[in-house]
Amino acid sequence: MSEPYTELLDPAFRARLERLQIAVRRALPSSLRGDRRSPTRKGLSLEFADFRPYAPGDDVRHLDWSAWARLDQLILKLFHDEEDLQLHLLIDDSASMEMGPPEKALAARRVAAALAWIGLRDGSRVSCTLIGDRLERMNAVRGEAAVGRLLTFLSQPGLRGKRPLHEGCREFASFFQPHGVVVLVSDLLDSAGISASLKSLQRRTTEVAVVQLLAPQDVDPDFDGEVRLLDMEDGPSVETTLSPARIDAYRATVKRFVAECGEHCLRRAVAFASCTTDRPLEDLFLHDLQRAGVLR
């Protein structure tokens, strides 16, 4: 049984995340009002946003009487709408995420913890689901005070599942009918390909982002010679003699695979970021995720 994860969000890193927000690129239909200022909609909060000329049918309570007195024109005050954004964090907790060091599963939890912190500070409701042979879900929480519960949830030992990722995503989507932003954190090493997972997650009511994490050993193997490659999940093992030429070929294949995942996400308007677990998370959050449009 694996050990619980600790030190998922250190205070110094947390401080650097305070100015970041979850980015939503399009308006997502929602019936609930929340504490998060909508960047796209105008609503009925107390926060002034803008003026516009009065049109018949507008609520006269929002007329700016002082402007009428000065300008003899009927002008309406507009206020920011406050929306209720739900952030769904999906963490791939399959057996392949054990690869490391640094272990992909730990890195995925840290990414999820950081995204959750950003979302909670932003007033979003944050839920967290671990995808393995079964789904382990923490219901949505709101407020900075909930970060402790969330970290506790993420600290639990890994599921080490062998079920393919796309099956877990399909179960999540069909059971929980998510609305809002869905961030999938995974190595995407699913034989069915990323499209199968995105197909389940992409809806009219969701905006999907993908963060791919790969271990250094996934990208640059440190072994050669007579080997039997054992798939950590359910894939077939491969017996081969690894020569330098063959290892070079594998590196190129991984590179192509990451590029293909990025192209596929781009075509489907899915934000995509990929990095290896030996890179500092700060680089991922302060550069890659902002560039990808997951954060702002």
């Binding site: 050993q217 010679g225 490659l229 798939d231 950590m232 491969v238 020569s243 594998y250």
Partner: protein, 616 residues
């Protein structure tokens, strides 16, 4: 049949090392287990790599075969593998010494007879499917029977093998035996081993079993091994070499007359005796027969005759008896060097000696000549009967090989008439009409007589260029024919251009007995050598058109001939296994090839490893 023979066969036990090598390859190779996040990308990468490579992956079995080959090479080489000779499908090579010494007799049986008997015993041991080769080991070894399963034919050839007046080049004979016999052949050498025993020094790298059979015992033998004739300003000499152990009386007979005798004592080496002829032939064209004899016995049963002749110093002389004829005059012009004396038939006794007499009108008075040609008339005193005229005779047949017809074309020859002559006994028809002879040859009483049954004007032969050729052939036969039994001349003939004051180049012509000519330009004092001429006869030489007086015919030469038989000695070579003093087996070592195979296999395995680990 080739058999595998090993020097150290116990080393073959190392072949059991092949078992763990095979087991190692058969067992699945242990690989290191390495967990990976997903084998999906690895499979994709390896598939792409295999699709890109231009070569198929070497099979694991190839590596196993190379390792086994290398191991086999090391083991067989270490065990000293040799290719020897075994049983079944025998290849027998009989090398029979036919040198002169094999004619020596012991208790009524010659050494060559002993060799024939022992060869027959070897043939008796052969079975169906075996093959035999017979080689005569003389000065120039030759194959008498080439690799045949027909044992009866080989017996017939062996029955005719005789000692020859030659030496024995056993080294060449052995080389020939190895060349004729295949790997694993059995070579049986039948000889008195008088020859040089270093014949085994250069045996080829080929497996064989060699058996030496000594034919004849060593005992005091004396024989004439060489005769020669030479002439110089001092006169004519006969040179004789005698070899063996013992004392004899050496006699020289000219014709049947004893001319000279010497006592000779041989102590195992050859001694030389020179006789100076008191009355050598003086006239051009004369020859004498010299016979050498050893008393009480010449153990070498070969003819010891030499022929002595003196070359011509004057041109050939022709006597024409008949009316002046333009064709005879044309003959004078056409054949250079001729002197033709024309006389009428009624002339008084004609004096002088002539090489050729051409008689074109019937006459009873013929001066002596070596050769006579009667054209359109019959020779007097010989039993020729004229049976009448043949009108427009047609040629039926002719002996194209006859020396008179050399270069003479008889096709499209037309004749108006001819005399039908009855053929005397002993006469030979050279050219025939349907109804009688055209040209007859008769030799009797030391004369050569040719009879041409039609006149010169009764055919178109005289109109053709072939006629002078015919006359020249006749002249050649008249001048150069040698009578008596002859032996092949095996020595070189050497002629020297005059030296001293006769500076510059000299034209040399040599006419051989068969009519061929050799020419050369010689400087003063330079020699011309005719190598080992075959066939006895006169060798007429001319220097600057002047016939040379220094020529003659020799007999035979047994160079390096010894009569002393010796026991055979096997060679001292590491590849030879001596079975007995007269039999040994030659085995070809192949360990070097085994080492080469092992090295090549290891290099191939290394290359295979490099391919697997570096290129792909």
């Amino acid at each position: 049949m080739i058999a595998l023979v090993f020097d150290t066969p116990w080393f073959l036990a190392a072949l059991v090392a092949m078992l763990p090598v095979i087991a190692f390859f058969l067992l699945k190779r242990k690989r290191r287990d390495v967990p990976v996040s997903s084998s999906m990308l690895w499979q994709r990468a390896l598939k792409e790599t295999m699709a890109r490579t231009p070569f198929r992956k070497p099979s694991e079995w190839l590596s196993l075969l190379l390792m086994l080959l290398a191991l086999a090479g090391v083991v067989f080489g270490s065990a000293g593998l040799r290719l020897g000779s075994g049983g079944g499908g025998r290849a027998l090579v009989l090398v029979v010494d036919v040198s002169a010494s094999m004619s020596l007799e012991h208790e009524g049986e010659s050494r060559i007879g002993i060799a024939r008997a022992k060869a027959a015993e070897a043939l008796d041991a052969l079975k169906d499917g075996d093959q035999v080769t017979v080689i005569a080991a003389g000065t120039n070894p030759r194959v008498l029977v080439h690799a045949t399963a027909d044992i009866a034919a080989a017996r017939r050839v062996l029955d005719d093998v005789q000692a020859e007046p030659v030496g024995c080049d056993m080294r060449s004979a052995m080389s020939l035996a190895f060349a004729e016999g295949r790997d694993g052949a059995e070579i049986v050498v039948l000889s008195d081993f008088c020859h040089d025993q270093d014949s085994w020094a250069d045996l080829p790298d080929q497996s064989a079993t060699i058996t030496l059979v000594q034919c004849g015992q060593d005992q005091p033998n004396v024989g004439i091994t060489y005769t020669d004739v030479s002439a110089d300003d001092g006169g004519v000499s006969v040179l004789v070499r005698v070899a063996g152990d013992g004392a004899r009386t050496l006699s020289l007979l000219i014709g049947d007359a004893l001319t000279d005798a010497r006592e000779v004592v041989c102590g195992g080496e050859e001694i030389t005796v020179v006789f100076n002829l008191p009355n050598p032939p003086e006239e051009a064209g004369e020859f004498q027969r010299a016979t050498l004899k050893l008393e009480p016995a010449d153990d070498l049963k070969l003819d010891d005759t030499a022929f002595i002749s003196i070359g011509r110093t004057d041109p050939p002389r022709i006597l024409h008896v008949g009316a002046a004829d333009p064709f005879i005059m044309r003959l004078e012009a056409a054949v250079p060097g001729l002197v033709v004396n024309n006389v009428s038939p009624g002339s008084p006794d004609i004096q002088g000696r002539y090489d050729l007499a051409i008689v074109t009108e019937q006459t009873a008075n013929i001066p002596p000549a070596r050769c006579e040609l009667y054209i359109g008339c019959v020779p007097p005193g010989l039993p020729f009967v004229d049976e009448g005229e043949i009108a427009q005779p047609e040629l039926a047949d002719w002996d194209s090989t006859h020396p008179l017809l050399r270069g003479v074309g008889l096709e499209n020859l037309l004749f108006a008439r001819a005399r039908k002559l009855s053929v005397p006994r002993k006469a030979i028809e050279i050219v025939k009409f349907r109804d009688g002879p055209l040209l007859l040859e008769l030799r009797a009483d030391g004369r050569e007589t040719y009879t041409w049954s039609c006149g010169l004007n009764d055919s178109n032969l005289v109109l053709r260029p072939a006629f002078p050729v015919f006359i020249r052939n006749l002249l050649g036969e008249a001048i150069h024919r040698v009578q008596g039994r002859s032996m092949p001349c095996s020595r070189d003939l050497t002629f020297s251009a005059p030296g001293g004051d006769a500076a510059g180049e000299h034209d040399f012509q040599l006419r051989l007995p068969d009519g061929d000519e050799r020419t050369a330009h010689l400087l003063a004092g330079e020699a011309f050598t005719q190598r080992a001429p075959q066939g006895l006869g006169f060798y007429s030489a001319a220097i600057d058109g002047t016939p040379s007086s220094e020529l003659g015919t020799g007999l035979y030469s047994l160079a390096e001939t010894s009569l002393k038989a010796a026991p055979p000695k096997p060679p001292e070579k590491s590849e030879v296994e001596v079975v007995s003093a007269s039999a040994w087996t030659l085995e070809r070592p192949v360990w070097r090839w085994c080492a080469a195979v092992a090295i090549l296999a290891l290099l191939a395995e290394l290359a295979l490893w490099l391919v697997k680990n570096r290129r792909i």
